[in-house]
């Protein structure tokens, strides 16, 4: 890659960061008037959260089942299979729940948000709102942003609960780990701060994924190709930034 191309790519990256930052500030300003339309926010919680429920529950179940299987197999080598409940709970609450939920949310709800707003842009719906003296930032963008932020911790919580059930299903019911030990070890080892850490992470991921999804839709080129590219960018950027913020938050808590 030549220096010129590298410089161009770097400049484009800086430009995108700048555009997203300005959009974030405008979005925050639009959140206040959007709160006066709770019906729209509830509708978006359903759109982003409710419609992601099946994929989140299935993924949570399978993740928990893998945890139960691998956890039991590894812990048994050290005679510590009684710690399976603790392992599953901490792994799900602190890491797998928030991160996998955010990645799945970016793929399911994030892409839907981007393409929906992008198509609204391409079909002049946002322009029509502006001409009707209705601010699309507070009518379209902010409710979707807030809906995403609220939906994410709820989805992560459901992912955790189903995941724990999956771990219990394999560890206890299939592989014979003692049920009482599984739950009591978990109760004694898992503190409220672990739960809080997971909630904070999923809130931050909610902000990141929703911001990227709404911004990409809002800034997309009003063409079929433009909306397609914006949707791809949403998945890529939201996934990478989720993992980056996961590291930052984990390091900050430790």
């Amino acid at each position: 890659m030549s220096n010129g191309v590298r410089r161009g790519a770097a400049l484009e990256g800086v430009r995108r960061f700048g555009v997203t930052s300005i959009f974030f500030v405008r979005l925050l300003a639009a959140c206040l008037p959007a709160l006066a339309r709770p019906r729209l926010i509830v509708a978006q919680i359903f759109n982003a959260g409710g419609r992601s429920l099946i994929i989140i529950m299935l993924s949570g179940l399978f993740t928990g089942m893998v945890l139960g299987l691998l956890g039991q197999s590894v812990l048994e080598r050290f005679g510590a299979e009684t710690a399976l409940g603790t392992l599953a709970a901490l792994a799900l609450l602190k890491e797998l729940g928030p991160v996998l939920t955010a990645l799945l949310f970016a793929g399911r709800a994030g892409t839907a948000l981007t393409s929906e707003i992008g198509l609204m842009r391409a079909t002049d719906q946002l322009t029509a709102m502006e001409v009707m003296a209705v601010d699309p930032m507070s009518y379209v963008a902010a409710p979707r942003f807030l809906g995403g932020i609220i939906a994410m911790p709820l989805l992560a919580a459901i992912f955790d609960v189903i995941g724990l059930y999956g771990a219990q299903l394999i560890g206890v019911q299939l592989l014979g780990v003692d049920r009482g030990t599984f739950w009591s070890q978990m109760q004694s080892a898992v503190g409220m701060h672990d739960v809080t850490e997971g909630i904070v992470k999923s809130l931050v991921f909610g902000v990141v994924v929703s911001l990227i999804a709404v911004n990409e839709g809002y800034q997309s080129e009003p063409t079929a190709e433009g909306v397609g590219l914006a949707t791809t960018r949403t998945v890529v950027a939201a996934s990478v930034l989720t993992l980056l913020f996961d590291y930052v938050l984990t390091a900050a808590v430790m």
Binding site: T123, Q125, T127, A128, M129, V131, M132, A133, Y139
Partner: protein, 291 residues
């Protein structure tokens, strides 16, 4: 055409029909010497247009002359690089965000594709501006919306979703939405494109009816000369970023000026180039053959 960077020849003063003089308070929209460029490409270079209260003003011109851009300048979505766009007597570029929104509430706009909100029904689309800008009870909104839908002949389609409408029906719903707040000015962006003869006739009659019955000032941006000629009181022909002719449709039709004649007769030959600038046809074909 400004789009290709070439400026169509301006007509001499004698060729341009001056708009009838009007008292200043009779002027609703006044575009004065507007210059506007996109990415260095000039769209307008000294555009002057005057829209008078209660009249239907047609803005015509070939594709790419910036007719839609003109509407965006009038509604304050874009601002002129130079010159003024006076809307209701105030320069739109000097207004604050809330003042621009206040001016927009006095205007309605019909988009080329209707621009209906696709996730809500026809009824909710028409009710949308009313719900956003008033505290009227739902029973009153219902009567208001049904009245407007009846005016465009689509009261029976109130419960349909926009995806279930034909192009002409969508445009009529959009028209009902544009007039639901009883605007002083209605802006029409290419209202006749892609319509079947029945829908076209209905839209034409509706535009005329809105103007005569409700006294709404109308600006119709289009390149459908024949249709506009039947309803417009005043016409402007744009080319090369400025007005090359203005007057009543009848005056434009009888004009001897080359640009006007070419546009009104739909000829490919004339001052407005049909072909995009390209190397010589024969030499390009022969050159490729030799290679």
């Amino acid at each position: 055409m400004s789009g290709s960077g070439t400026e169509a020849p301006r007509m001499s003063g004698s060729e341009i029909q001056d708009a009838p003089s009007a008292p200043a308070d009779d002027v609703v929209i006044d575009v004065r010497d507007v210059h506007y460029a996109i990415d260095g490409r000039p769209i307008f270079a000294g555009l002057d247009i005057c829209v008078r209260r209660g009249l239907i003003t047609a803005v015509m011109g070939p594709s790419g002359t910036g007719k839609t851009t003109l509407l965006r300048l009038i509604t304050g979505q874009l601002f002129a690089d130079r010159g003024q766009v006076l809307v209701f007597g105030r320069d739109i570029a000097t207004l604050s965000g809330s003042e621009i929104y206040a001016a927009r509430k006095r205007m309605g706009m019909l988009f080329q594709n209707g621009a209906l909100l696709t996730d809500i029904s026809v009824f909710d689309n028409v009710a949308f501006p009313v719900r956003e800008h008033t505290d009227l009870p739902e029973s009153v909104i219902r009567k208001l919306v049904l009245t407007k839908l009846e005016a465009v002949g689509l009261r029976g389609a109130a419960d349909l979703m926009p995806a279930e409408l034909s192009g002409g029906m969508a445009r009529r719903v959009a028209l009902a939405r544009a007039i639901v707040m009883d605007p002083e000015v209605l802006l029409y962006d290419e209202p006749f494109v892609g319509l079947d003869p029945i829908s076209l006739g209905v839209i034409l009659r509706l535009i005329k009816h809105m103007n005569q019955a409700l006294g709404i000032t109308s600006v119709v941006v289009s390149h459908d000369v024949q249709e506009l000629a039947t309803i417009a009181d005043q016409s402007y022909l744009l080319s090369g970023g400025c007005v090359v002719a203005s007057g009543t449709p009848r005056e434009l039709a009888s004009s001897d000026a080359e640009t006007v004649h070419q546009f009104m007769t739909g000829s490919a030959e004339g001052p407005v180039k049909f072909h995009y600038p390209a190397p010589d046809y024969a030499s390009q074909l022969l050159g490729e053959q030799e290679q």
